[in-house]
Assembly symmetry: C2
Homo-oligomer: 214 residues x 2
DNA sequence: GTCTATAGCTGGATAGAC
DNA sequence: GTCTATCCAGCTATAGAC
């Protein structure tokens, strides 16, 4: 037989698509039963395959989670990189991005828990799976720079603020908008603060190393 | 035999202290192995008792979690209610409280996850266990009122901000202070924003219901 | 590669003696 | 109330036929 090597292109394609079927079934279950509320038995039943088939593509259940993490991280980076319209005011862009972030998180609890909450005891994403997330944070830094914000601590303040909105929304009003509707005001508060800070200590005082004990 | 009734005082005391031993062992395990990273077998080994003894005091593992939740919620309410010094500036009080909140959360990940992250799929605290948490939120509202902040949405903004700091601290710099050291600046930003908002729309414009799309 | 069948274990919870 | 002993359901993962 020709092409019996495991690395032949169409072999790879088959492998890949089988993988995709498994991961898709895993996502469906995670959304329905909770991130960790499903077993491999559930998975194979849902995907219409058998247990050993899963192990032909993944070494363990955690390897499936890792694939899910990678997928989610890529989605996240892509979504955050989408520019709305060019030629837009930097501030509107910041608002739009914050809204997009909140929507991204809130539309999929399982994904949010996997990606941002480290909700799986004993699971650590592999470096490859994690990589895209770094890309997204760089995007955030650039977006703030567009708004004249370059201090590292202000980037941290920004992520805290916007993370907190999502976190509270999930914890205390899931499905509602009690916190997400505060995004506009949050951005206003944040930008106002940074602007005034910049006026007080003009230009690059190079992020004076305030004692940072471990 | 006198006092053979289960409701006699010293019987109750014994029951209680046995309960306490079990819950204490559960906390120790939760801190060492993760909130859900331990089994009843681990628990009985640690507490030096046997499985049926546990079931003499608790109906299920979730009942143990509920007791833990109640304990944590009480601790939380107490800690938040501690006034630093009287005669203090309302703003300093706000900063101190925010710091106390962050410290409370960050000193015990398991407690934080149980109390604020709903990290146990399928577990809901009973109303009795939950009650003290309400007390704490009322305290926060009063503290903001002392600072002239009475709008409901500003209370929400406050909790989001301070929650976000803790959340980011845990997720991206556990053990460090990269975010907690931003508490002062966060309070400044928040108070500045609320003050200016109050100037623009003076006195109680009764929280105009801004259109709330999902 | 995919199946059936099952190993091997660990989990929460219980029976019944004392 | 506390024990020893155990049940039984669930899990991940694998052996071995095809």
């Amino acid at each position: 037989m020709i092409n019996s090597s495991d690395s032949s292109p169409w072999r790879e394609a088959r492998r890949r698509s089988a993988r995709d079927v498994i991961v898709a079934a895993a996502w469906a279950l995670a959304r329905e039963e909770g991130l960790s509320g499903w077993s491999l038995r559930d998975l194979v039943r849902r995907a219409g395959i058998s247990t050993p088939t899963v192990y032909a593509y993944f070494d363990s259940k955690n390897a499936i989670y890792d694939a899910m993490f990678g997928e989610a991280a890529t989605e996240f980076a892509d979504r955050m990189a989408e520019s709305t319209d060019d030629a837009e005011d930097p501030r509107d862009l910041l608002v739009a991005t914050a809204r997009r972030y909140a929507r991204f998180c809130l539309t999929d609890l399982a994904r949010y828990q996997l990606l941002f909450q480290r909700a799986l005891p004993g699971f650590e994403p592999s470096p490859q799976s994690y990589a895209p997330a770094v890309r997204a944070l760089q995007g955030a830094a650039e977006l703030l720079a567009l708004n004249g914000i370059t201090e590292a601590r202000h980037l941290d303040l920004w992520t805290a603020l916007i993370t907190g909105v999502v976190s509270q929304q999930f914890a205390n009003d899931p499905g509602g908008d009690r916190w997400t509707r505060l995004v506009d005001e949050s951005v206003a508060m944040f930008l106002g603060h940074c602007r005034r800070a910049a006026e007080r200590e003009p230009e690059s005082s190079p992020d004076q190393a305030e004692g940072a004990p471990s």
